[in-house]
């Protein structure tokens, strides 16, 4: 790409920015409108309308109770996510490099991925007991497999010429891993992190909803059990906001790396 075409591309991106902002504003307006219609139509029995929810949420954010539940969820989620990410990355790299191990493991992992994990939750409870460790284990069960499969796929699709180049440059296996394999696979690894993030959070929340006395999942179920619709709607709003923010951040990462990796496809 010449300097001229690079400048043209940058100018095009700059002109697209206001249109994107408009898209986001319209999307938020549509979601809020729908939310309001459903809330009003059901007389606040299914979900509380947006304004009522935001007022309730503002009050909730000032209570110690909310923050202690949020901290419990955050702790369990961070543990589950970090474990899923690290273990998934390591397993994905091993299965990607060791072709035979990958060919054996992939169908097993894909099979496990399709099982509704909630059916295994009684087993998790028996193994880990009630509390933090069960929530973390359930989060890992959700987040580990996609991270492993994404990393495995990234290593498999790595252009062999990069590995040959590493050999020609006489890099050790460790340096090949750090300097070639991981950077080349990074866009797919970040994609895996995105999915793993969402599913680890889902696993932790499900764990809290089914058998826990603490956490946002517990608070959500408690709100539903007490017919406290503004509470449950406010908790869902918080969870959705966190998920969207994290996903947007990671998506930006992926796009930045994807731009640089574009030419690998020619």
């Amino acid at each position: 790409m010449s300097d001229l075409s690079l400048e043209t591309a940058q100018a095009a991106t700059a002109t697209r920015r206001p249109a994107r902002v408009l898209d986001v504003v319209v999307l938020i307006a549509v979601v809020l409108g729908l939310w309001h219609v459903i809330g009003t139509w059901t007389h606040g029995v299914a979900i509380a309308p947006p304004l009522q929810t935001l007022v309730y949420l503002a009050g909730l954010l000032h209570t110690e109770m909310f923050w202690s539940h949020a901290a419990a969820t955050l702790e369990a989620f961070l543990l589950a996510f970090v474990l899923s990410a690290l273990m998934g990355l390591a397993l994905g790299l091993i299965f990607g490099v060791r072709r035979f191990a990958g060919e054996v493991a992939e169908p097993i992992l894909a099979g496990f991925y399709t099982i509704p994990k909630v059916t295994l939750y009684p087993v998790v409870l028996l193994l880990f007991g009630l509390g933090m460790s069960a929530k973390v284990a359930f989060g890992v069960m959700h987040g580990l497999v996609p991270m492993t499969l994404f990393t495995l796929g990234a290593v498999r699709n790595l252009p062999p010429v990069l590995v040959r180049t590493a050999r020609v440059l006489r890099l050790s296996p460790g340096r090949t891993m750090r300097w070639v394999l991981i950077p080349a696979c990074l866009p797919d690894i970040v994609n895996g992190l995105r999915i793993s993030f969402s599913l680890s959070l889902l696993g932790v929340l499900i764990g809290e909803m089914f058998s826990s006395q603490r956490g946002l999942g517990f608070l959500l179920v408690n709100g539903m059990a007490q017919n406290n619709v503004p509470l449950s709607t406010a908790i869902v709003t918080v969870i959705v906001a966190i998920a969207i923010a994290a996903n947007t951040l990671m998506l930006r990462f992926v796009r930045r790396f994807a731009r640089r990796a574009d030419e690998m496809a020619g």
Binding site: M1, V161, V168, R170, E263
Partner: protein, 263 residues
């Protein structure tokens, strides 16, 4: 500068275990002289790239031996050997400067020395304006120049090129050929070029080896007799046509075999 044996192959054979088992190369006997520009042509699938892999040390011969500077290669790339592949091997996450410097990451050289070598290689390959660009922002030819510059900073004594201009248009290939000749003259390195283009081999080389259909072995050696300070203008020399014709007459029968036709 040429004369002394730099690379030698003795009865080198490469077989790949199946299924199906493939006898890819050999037996090959070859001596490449120090400072020589040697090209290899042959029909598709005859084992040209396997020959390069064996000479570079990326692949160990199944039998026979390969020597580089009188040391036998045993499945490892020796110091002093640089390889440029046909495929784009630039690292998309690194800028041109970092791509070129990548080759020296493990060299242990002082930073100043590394910066000097990188600057020189970038200037030499005409990439000075693009040092901060990423591969995605470059054309195919420029990316290949980045890969050559990355090899150049290592100051290899033997440069192996596996159809490095295969994906480029004819005009760019001629110009890249000129740059390759300039690089060869200035570095004094021995060059082994694998190519499917007979005119490229005839234009660039001191000597061209013609390989048979698989399992590849040399069926002809053609001395071009070009002066050392040649460039792509040799294609207008009447001798160029004769050289290309000689290469084709040696290769035609083998190419027909590859295509499944009787000669």
């Amino acid at each position: 500068m040429t004369g002394q044996c730099h690379v030698s192959l003795r009865e080198a054979v490469r077989r790949y275990d199946g299924p199906p088992a493939v006898h890819a190369l050999g037996p090959v006997n070859l001596e490449i002289r120090r400072g020589e520009f040697f090209s290899v042509v042959g029909p598709s699938g005859c084992g040209k790239s396997t020959l390069l892999d064996v000479i570079s040390g990326l692949v160990r011969p199944s039998s026979g031996s390969v020597h580089f500077e009188d040391k036998e290669l045993r499945g490892e790339v020796p110091d002093g050997v640089g390889v440029v592949f046909q495929e784009d091997s630039s690292m998309p996450w690194l800028s041109v400067r970092d791509n070129v410097a990548f080759g020296l990451r493990t060299s242990g050289l002082p930073k100043k020395e590394v910066a000097g070598r990188v600057d020189h290689a970038i200037r030499f390959m005409g990439l000075a304006q693009f040092a901060g660009h990423y591969p995605a922002q470059l054309s195919g030819g420029m990316r290949q120049r980045v890969c050559i510059a990355r090899t150049l900073v290592l100051r290899p004594r033997l440069i192996l090129l596996d159809e490095p201009f295969g994906a480029l248009d004819q005009q760019t290939r001629l110009l890249m050929g000129d740059e390759l000749l300039r690089l060869w003259r200035e570095t004094g390195a021995t060059v082994l070029l694998i190519t499917h283009a007979l005119d490229e081999a005839a234009m660039l080389s001191d000597r061209v080896g013609v390989m048979s259909a698989r399992p590849g072995h040399f069926i002809d050696m053609v001395e071009t007799g070009w002066p050392r300070d040649r460039d792509s203008r040799v294609i207008s020399d009447p001798k160029f046509g004769a050289l290309t014709a000689r290469l084709w007459s040696s290769l035609r029968e083998e190419s027909l075999k590859t295509m499944g036709h009787a000669a």
